[in-house]
């Protein structure tokens, strides 16, 4: 639907599903899933180069012509995340970054203070910053005000597949957003992705839910359909919820 493009930092995307590359054990399975998802942008992580060479993922993504969104996964402080973003820009030639600064390994929840600090530094250095954030409307607002080009609240912690634990917070973030809201993390199955869109999110970012599904390619297609369906439903406008039944057929005179 060309009249309903997602625009992030002036760049247009036809797909509102952003599928990451994490969690796939096999590049050809990943390739089929990425294609089935219809994603036009995908995440990669930055790690130390080993003597035995790279993983081949960059070659694959170039071949598929999918835009790279490097992340700062694994960073625990603003300083670490800023250095990782700078290295990603140098290595990959993009100033887009998915900013992740997590507080601990058990929850992988964002550290709000370090996250905001890193976002301010990177925005000042000309990066297009897409922060992975808590489902906290206040923090989302602060990140937006700091100049981030999108905000990416979690549905639930990374890799849990617990879906959207606080839909009202996501709606609050959407209600006050002047940049795209991308639901990032926690998606378990297609209905979670549809709900994110119905709540008003502009896009969904997921990886594990597809890459660790029993059939990744099929789940990627399911997520694509769910995001499109949820978006259409949001734009169509749902009926109000009622407590009592409301007949959909005319009253019958018996």
């Amino acid at each position: 639907m060309s009249e309903d493009q997602l625009v992030i930092a002036g760049r247009e995307f036809g797909s509102r599903l952003i599928m990451g590359t994490g969690g796939s054990g096999n590049l050809s399975v990943l390739e089929r899933a990425l294609v089935a998802s219809g994603t036009e942008m995908t995440t990669v992580a930055m790690r130390r180069m080993d003597a035995d060479g790279g993983t081949g993922v960059l070659e694959l993504l170039r071949r598929l012509n999918i835009q790279l969104l490097p992340n700062t996964a694994g960073c625990r402080s603003a300083a670490e995340a800023v250095l990782t973003a700078r290295l990603a820009r140098e290595a990959l030639g993009t100033d887009w970054v998915k900013l992740e600064v997590v507080a601990d390994e058990d929850t992988l929840l964002p550290d709000p203070h370090e996250l905001l600090d890193a976002a301010e530094t990177l925005v000042a250095e000309g990066f297009s910053v897409l922060p992975y954030t808590n489902d906290d409307p206040v923090l989302a607002r602060r990140l937006q005000d700091a100049g981030c080009v999108a905000v990416m609240p979690l549905g639930s912690p990374i890799g849990t597949g617990l879906g959207i634990r606080n839909p009202h917070n996501i709606e609050l973030i959407v209600a006050r957003a002047s940049v795209p809201v991308i639901l990032d993390a926690g998606i378990g199955t297609a209905s979670d992705a549809a709900l994110a869109m119905e709540l008003g999110c502009d896009a969904v970012l997921l990886a594990t839910a597809v890459t660790r599904a029993h059939q990744p390619e099929r789940m990627a297609a399911a997520m694509r359909a769910a995001v499109e369906g949820g978006r259409l439903a949001r734009r169509a406008g749902r009926i109000p919820r009622r407590f009592w039944a409301h007949a959909s057929s005319p009253a019958r005179e018996c």
């Binding site: 003597a51 250095l83 290295l87």
Partner: protein, 65 residues
């Protein structure tokens, strides 16, 4: 001279450059970035000589996120 390259001690000839350190890892021409002592070294500066004891980090993109 000795450097710490991606967390491991390595010995290089005196006067060795960032590019020499990259060669030790067999790093490809593209898709990698280097930090020396916590600062990014742009590709255009890879001919720069390393100091003895330099901490060199070489990163590349892998699946993730």
């Amino acid at each position: 001279m000795r450097i710490r390259l991606n967390g491991k001690e390595n010995t290089l000839a005196p006067g060795s450059t960032v590019a020499d350190a990259l060669a030790l890892l067999g790093a490809p021409e593209s898709g990698v970035a280097v930090a020396v002592d916590g600062d990014v070294v742009p590709r255009s500066q890879w001919h720069t000589a390393l100091r003895d004891g330099a901490v060199v980090e070489v990163l590349t993109a892998v699946q993730g996120g």
